[in-house]
């Protein structure tokens, strides 16, 4: 198993074991042939090396032999048939979610992940109960992404215009890395999230708490949570540094120049418009790359975000009215 831990990452799903044994099979067969062929190259190159006065000519040897050709064609053929079978059998298990799976919708967009639970709650990370098959329905808001969890050995492209599915079941509580594996532009390498596998009984409590945050939290705090969850930090910083979009630090209440010329004061209406129709009034110096949140943020959520933005303009002494 030393070989496995040298090559493969930690293993935290029921299917990972099968994938790893398929890997093991192809790895050892390949290692055998790689060593054999390399040894033959080196051995022949040394043993039959041209040496003036000692070995100047090749020894007479036949230059075709049907038996040999058959001998090195048939066994490899049988081997690759076995590889194919193992790889396909395990893939069918990977591709077939059990009937009793818990469903989560996964949405990819430049450049973050959104996980929607059956009750409608949306989170930026994937939280799941331990030892439960989880079925993911994947879709994209813009370009192709790919949902990749190395610890679970699963990867499925997230394609606009269609739903792809994948599933996993994790027996080990913990936190695991999610990557975007299909190149999707500027912040492709920052399109990361986590899978949190909750110990028995804790997932339900987490979901109940998380789902009604709008009722429990003051609007500014709920707005900050939405800012974190819905992927805003990928482009909009809160520390004053410009990113793919303008920073939110001091934005609310200021007046910004527009890419089309002219200027606009950042008030509630402008923020709302920028969330729902982002390309309408783009701030000068930025590209119109933000996706719309029409239908994905309701009025209460937008209100909360506006409340949060106001706190970032530091009503206390920031100089803004």
């Amino acid at each position: 198993m030393i070989v496995l831990s040298f090559w493969l990452p930690e293993r935290a799903s029921t299917m990972a074991r099968h994938v790893d044994s398929a890997w093991n099979f192809v790895f050892w067969v390949s290692a055998f042939f790689a060593v054999l062929i390399t040894a033959l190259i080196v051995f022949f190159a040394l043993k039959y090396r041209y040496r003036p006065g000692v070995r100047e000519k090749a020894d007479p040897a036949p230059h075709h032999h049907l038996g040999l050709e058959v001998a090195w064609t048939v066994p490899p053929t049988l081997l690759v048939v076995a590889f194919f079978w193992v790889g396909f059998r395990d893939f069918m298990d990977l591709a077939t979610p059990p009937e009793n799976s818990y469903d989560v919708q996964v949405t990819g967009q430049k450049w973050n992940w959104l996980f929607t639970y059956p009750g409608g709650y949306v989170d930026a990370d994937l939280h799941v109960p331990v030892d439960t098959p989880i079925r993911l329905t994947l879709s994209s808001q813009d370009v192709i992404h790919s949902f990749f969890v190395p610890a679970f050995r699963i990867k499925r492209d997230v394609v606009p215009g269609r739903y792809n599915k994948t599933w996993f079941q994790s027996p080990i509580p913990g936190t695991y890395q999610i990557f975007c594996a299909e190149y999707c532009g500027k912040s492709h390498s920052q399109m990361l999230a986590k899978v949190v596998v909750h110990p028995p009984g804790q997932f339900e409590r987490w979901l109940a708490d998380a789902s009604n945050f709008l009722d429990k939290m003051p609007p500014e705090q709920a707005g900050e949570k939405l800012y974190q969850q819905r992927g805003c930090p990928q482009c909009h910083s809160v520390d004053g540094k410009p990113g793919t979009g303008p920073t939110f630090r001091g934005l609310f209440g200021s007046t910004v120049a527009l890419a089309t010329g002219g200027a606009v004061k950042v008030n509630e209406n402008y923020v709302r418009e920028s969330i729902l129709t982002p390309a309408a009034k783009v701030v000068a110096g930025y590209e119109p790359v933000m996706p719309t949140f029409q239908g994905r943020l309701n009025d209460r959520e937008i209100d909360a975000i506006i409340a949060y933005l106001k706190t970032l303009s530091g009503g206390s002494g920031g100089g803004h009215p």
Binding site: W7, L8, H18, V19, W23, V26, S30, F33, A34, I37, I41, F44, Y48, R49, Y50, K57, A58, D59, A61, H63, H65, L68, W72, T73, P76, T77, V80, V81, V86, G87, F88, F91, M92, A95, D142, V143, I144, S146, P150, A151, R153, I154, K155, R156, D157, V159, P160, G161, R162, N164, C180, A181, E182, Y183, C184, K186, H188, S189, Q190, E287
Partner: protein, 564 residues
Amino acid sequence: MAGREAALPGYAPLRRPEVESYLNHGTGIRSWIFTLDHKRIGILYLVSVLTAFLAGGIAALLVRTELLTPGQTIMGPDTYNQMFTLHGVIMVFLFMIPAIPGSLGNFILPMMLGAKDVAFPRLNLMSWWLYVSGALCALISIVTGGVDTGWTFYTPYSTTTSGNVVAMVFGAFLLGFSSIFTGLNFIVTMHKLRPQGMSWFRMPLFPWALYATSIIQILATPVLGITLLLLIAERTLHVGIFDPALGGDPVLYQHFFWFYSHPAVYIMILPAMGIISEVIAVFSRKHIFGYKFIAFSSIAIALFGFLVWGHHLFTSGQSDLGNMVFSALTFSVAIPSAIKVWNWLATMYKGAIHLDTPMLYALAFIFLFTIGGLTGMFVAMVAVDTHLHDTYFVVAHFHYVMFGGTITAFLAGLHYWWPKMTGKMYSERWGRIAWTFIFVGFQVTFFTQFIMGAKGMPRRYWSYLPQFQPYHVTSTIGSYIMGAGFFIVAGLLLHSLYRGRRAGPNPWGAATLEWETNSPPPWDNFSETPVVGDPYDLDAFQPEPEKATWVRTLPKDRLAEHHG
């Protein structure tokens, strides 16, 4: 001496430097860029593809340098994305696809057939001009906004991103036509210009490999052309073909693209295998083993290669049945590839192996191609590919095949035919030093990438998690070692032009026909059509070191009975 010369029709003993050759037959830039001579067109291609290789290589080193640290090292994400796109586009379309057929193929193929030129010299020149036009389009794209799509131009990213995608894609379209013209020309040349006595099974294996390559170039490249035009139509006219926002299907693009681009991998590797078959036999001083198996395995690879494109789409959401069929068909390519490797090894058995630079590259090829081929089986297994797809494992795999395969074989062929093309011997000592740098640097660079890919490092990442840094740093150091190796190669080849020892007609003692004329050859190649013998009759030669050549000491037709 007189007796030897009588047995060698077609070339005179070593002549003085001012003797007429294709190099001094006509002077001035116009005599080159409008030449119809296959040898000069080969040199034009050689200079062009080496320039492209330099540009693509610099892009690669910049990409590797950026990856030294997990965050920003020398460039931001937008520049990085353009840089790896440039690396891919240049290396695939401007270097690897045309490299061996365009330069070595153009120069050597007609001579191997004892012919004076290819079948259609004007089409040949047209092919080079299309190459230059395609390269200019790429250059225009770079200076007018660049491209950040990756060399695969996946939709809908490529139809919605900013930058000048249209110019780059149109450049690739033109390069496709350049490739089609070369393939067409070679096929007709091999059918029509083989000399008296050269049956198909007396044709050397490099032409066989070029024949297989040409089939792919002619049949697959038009599909790329159509796909790229559809992409341009979607981007400029918003015709909905691939973008779901316009009613298209982005996975359809992937099918179209890989229907060409997977066979294109064989456009790159088949001519490489042809070179290796020549070099292994000549430097083992032994008849190639399993000639017909090597020849037919080239054709088999070309044909199977058309049926495997769907393995690039295992995670895309194509049907499970599709995954099954494409996985099974993909494994079929492993068999003819393995047949070649075993036959090369059997050729070395009991040989008298000269470890000169071309042979060192050929041995490196077998090793690297073996690793590349075996790791190809990991990613052909659907379940394992589900984990490995779009990670550095795949990056390492295709660099072992394309760099370890195509580029190593190109270097083998370049050193092998360099004396024929230039009339000069390069420094064997420096050739071996450069080989060592490239071989060691390659392992350090790309073997590391297998490990980090298996651990889950996705490709095309500008930044990465800190746990991957040791692998990235190692890989980057390897790329610098390799880069140094290539500068040594450039140095020793340029040095040979000015200071190299004069090469005789047949400095390696090979039995194929291109060695039966002067080095460099006269503009019409042969004063009379050479007599055809067994192309691997390597026992028949004795070295004459003082003239930097080998001479035939046994008659040509003595092996005829072996070939019914």
